[in-house]
């Protein structure tokens, strides 16, 4: 055998060996932290500096900003206490003489076919990671607590996640713009501010916990090696062309799903932020706030949640009842913010077709 043939044979053998076994020894990617950076203009930077220099004016205590009485009396012929002489104790009338209300299960509702969602949701916004509140951030009481504080909107602005200026019709203008209402995001405070904190010192009493180190990516399960079943003797042996076609199909997939490169950290963060904007833990019990729940779901190519694909994969840290509430809050977040479809790169559909999100409320607990 000639030297050239030998070299060629060795090179081909090496290539085939690498193709067969190279992947086996592929190491896990090392964990790395990614910090997103927002690009701002010099004018914005100057404006920020100017704000830092200006003295903070504490919010006036205001009279509690509380709504009116919790319950409106409705047609209750209740005696006015002042009008009563009440020299003697009045026998209280039990509101319900019956010892215990009967509880009867109502038969379950028939299945309802859900119509496609038509909710007008704001577009998914690509945002940087939440910036921890600095010393110049003035905590203010607001109904909403969100990672990113939001200034009170202008009084005439309608609440909307997307800020848009007001455009009114200008009769003299040559080019008429479409009229639109002014909208602004709802006011949000970076943390819960109690009356005690608000009254004494505007400085935050507690600092947010440092971000926990991200967990290492879960190791991929080793592919199970199973012996191929013996071919049925009656089936005809596949031809060479079939073997090539099979190999091509297996290597290239079905051919209908664009794979593309992996999602960038920015694209992943955008998805994370999109869901977190609807992950409302305000109505969860303290027990449910101890539950870390993992939710899996599938998306259609246009970023909408596949009906029936939402499922709870795992939960830790609480009772089954608390886990159920935590899962339902997570489910609401995924469905609500994905009603219009998540804004994900279509050319990487295979990368985000199936998603698993771990909802960890540790930083949102009442402390």
């Amino acid at each position: 055998m000639e030297t050239g043939t030998k070299i060629s044979a060795i090179a081909h053998a090496s290539l085939i060996s690498w193709a067969l076994f190279g992947g086996t020894f592929r190491s896990e990617p090392l964990p790395f932290a990614v910090q997103d950076v927002s690009v701002i203009s010099s004018e914005q930077f100057d404006a920020m500096r100017a704000r830092r220099g200006a003295p903070e004016v504490p919010t006036p205590p205001a009279d509690l900003q509380q709504p009116e009485a919790p319950v409106e009396e409705v047609n209750t012929p209740e005696p006015t206490p002042d009008e009563q002489p009440a020299p003697e104790p009045v026998v209280p009338v039990e509101p319900e003489p019956e010892p215990e209300p009967e509880t009867v299960e109502v038969p379950p509702e028939p299945e309802v076919v859900e119509e496609p969602p038509v909710l007008e949701q704001p577009d998914t916004e690509v945002a940087a990671l939440p910036v921890p509140p600095g010393p110049d951030v003035q905590p203010s009481p607001a109904d909403k607590v969100a990672p990113d504080p939001v200034e009170p909107p202008p009084p005439e602005a309608k609440p909307d996640d997307v800020e848009t200026p007001q455009v009114s019709l200008d009769e003299g203008a040559e080019i008429q713009q479409e009229q639109q209402d002014q909208t602004a995001p709802e006011e949000a405070a970076p943390e819960i501010v109690t009356e005690a904190e608000e009254a004494n010192d505007p400085a935050p009493k507690t600092s947010p916990r440092p971000r926990v180190r991200p967990n290492r990516p879960a190791p991929q399960p080793e592919p199970e090696v199973t012996e191929a079943p013996e071919p049925e003797p009656t089936e005809p042996a596949p031809s060479n062309q079939d073997a090539i076609n099979d190999a091509l199909t297996e290597a290239l997939g079905s051919g209908t799903e664009p794979t593309g490169p992996p999602l960038t950290s920015g694209e992943k963060d955008a998805m994370r932020v999109a869901v977190s904007r609807c992950w409302n833990v305000g109505s969860l019990s303290t027990d449910a706030l101890n539950v870390v729940v993992v939710v899996g779901f599938s998306l259609t190519p246009d970023g909408k949640v596949v009906g029936g694909s939402l499922r709870q994969l795992d939960s830790t840290g609480g009772s089954s009842g608390a886990a159920k509430q935590a899962y339902e809050a997570a489910r609401r977040a995924i469905l609500r913010c994905g009603a219009k479809g998540y804004d994900l790169p279509a050319d990487k559909y295979a990368q985000w077709q199936d998603i698993e999100i771990t909802f960890n409320p540790e930083r949102m607990r009442i402390k």
Binding site: A69, E105, N280, Q325, E328
Partner: protein, 440 residues
């Protein structure tokens, strides 16, 4: 053979090159930050089964909505925004219409009236998943009890969404105050948790203080100056029959509280100028001393399991909070912050202790862990005092008094997160609230 080798080579080469970008599993993300805001919900007016039920249907749905909104955890969507109407309890819900107005939860119901018998059916829906939360339920009672049934519906809705028990079908005992500060008339009163249905249990002939519900809500302990000296009385709430407890003659007894089993009480007794804690068995009337120090010990409160008592003592020089075994013994100080601490009350969940704190001329209601850690002040004013826990341990009610000769006492409530501070409407002024258990 050559063809086979060729196909094998082509296949392997493609296998080696193609999977560089292939997805090896689902995209995995972790969220550790969300938002905290009231959950938007809709309560369309319940469907009446007949003309007689029409007003009840409307009133019950309004009370349910008010209960939920009052927690601060929910925000009602006005009926003006509704796209679809619920005209039949069993009709399929048009989820798209409720999604369009951003309602995350929907409560539908129906009311039937037959004679003086009232029946309420309801369902709770998770709008965005199109699923029912729990099963439909039905409550039956009399028309007089329509408010209680509304509270029961609201308790169920609250429980199904938050995962913790409700507190709407409960009552609060308090001292109703009227008249100027120097001539104040005080009467023992009881009301629904939201200030409705106020009823008076005593007249204003003598000063009454600090009512305390029994664990089952059928009895009240309170302190009265009927004899000139503060003495402890127990009152049967159903029959409005009071009885003085037989503490020692010539002494002052006050600040009583029931044990979790309702069989005994713990209270303060002043004898010879010294105030200590005592425990009385209600069946036998026998009292035993729990503390014996020259300091003032008062405001005892049991842990929910009855094994510990937290109380206030000035043995270290200023009033602070201490904890000791329920049978007496060595006490451990648990409050170490600046200022004076008092009126500790153990949460029904057992995890927190609410207290009054005075510091730098202001009063606060706060909570801390049972070991004294993680102290958080929830309120601040000229005078806040006397916290009491809701049955589910989520809300604290307390007394707030305004400054000056015309200062007025009134009741307030606040969520344990410090949010949703709001007044509780009472016909007159109010103080010393005691939140009773959920009613059966």
């Amino acid at each position: 053979m050559m063809k086979l080798l060729t196909s094998l080579f082509v296949g392997l080469t493609l296998m080696a090159s193609a999977p560089v970008h292939a997805q090896s599993g689902p995209l995995r993300l972790e969220l550790d930050e969300g938002i905290i805001e009231p959950l938007p919900f809709a309560v369309p007016s319940f469907v009446p089964d007949g003309p007689a039920a029409s007003q009840y249907a409307q009133d019950i749905s309004r009370v349910v909505a008010a209960d939920l909104t009052g927690t601060g955890l929910f925000r009602e969507i006005s009926s003006d925004a509704f796209i679809s109407r619920v005209s039949s309890f069993d009709a399929p819900v048009q989820f798209a219409d409720w999604k369009a107005i951003n309602a995350e939860a929907l409560v539908t119901g129906a009311v039937n009236v037959s004679g003086n018998r009232l029946t309420v059916r309801f369902r709770v829906w998770d709008v965005f998943s199109g699923q029912e939360l729990g099963n439909g339920l039905q409550f039956a009672g009399t028309t007089d009890g329509w408010r209680r049934m509304a509270h029961k519906v609201a308790d169920q809705v609250y429980s199904r969404i938050t995962g913790e028990g409700g507190y709407f079908d409960s009552r609060v005992a308090f001292v109703s105050e009227s008249g100027p500060k120097n001539q104040r008339r005080k009467r023992l009163a009881i009301m629904d948790y939201d200030g409705a249905n106020v009823q008076y249990l005593t007249d204003s002939a003598s000063i009454v203080l600090a009512p305390r519900f029994s664990p089952t809500g059928d009895r009240l302990l309170y302190t009265s100056y009927e004899t000139g000296q503060p003495r402890i009385y127990v009152l049967d709430v159903g029959r409005v029959r009071q009885q003085e407890l037989n503490t020692q003659e010539g002494t002052m007894s006050f600040s009583p509280r029931f044990s979790p089993d309702g069989q005994s009480i713990v209270y303060s007794l002043t004898q010879g100028g010294n105030t200590d804690l005592w425990k009385m068995n209600l069946a036998s009337g026998q009292s035993v001393r729990l503390t014996n120090t020259p300091a003032i010990e008062t405001a005892p409160s049991y842990s929910p399991d009855g094994s510990q008592i937290v109380f206030e003592s000035d043995r270290s020089g200023t009033p602070q909070l201490y904890m000791m075994p329920a049978g007496g013994g060595e006490a451990t100080r648990i409050s170490f912050g600046q200022g004076r601490y008092g009126t500790p009350v153990w949460s029904p969940r057992g995890d927190l202790i609410a207290f009054t704190k005075q510091n730098k001329g202001r009063f606060h209601i706060g909570v801390m862990r049972t070991d004294g850690s993680e102290e958080r002040l929830l309120t601040a004013s000229f005078l806040d005092e006397g916290p009491t826990w809701s049955p589910n341990g989520r809300v604290i009610m307390f007394t707030r008094e305004t400054q000056g000769a015309s200062g007025r006492s009134s009741l307030y409530s606040v969520d344990i997160s410090g949010r949703n501070l709001r007044p509780v409407r009472t016909p007159d002024g109010g103080s010393d609230p005691s939140w009773g258990p959920l009613q059966n």
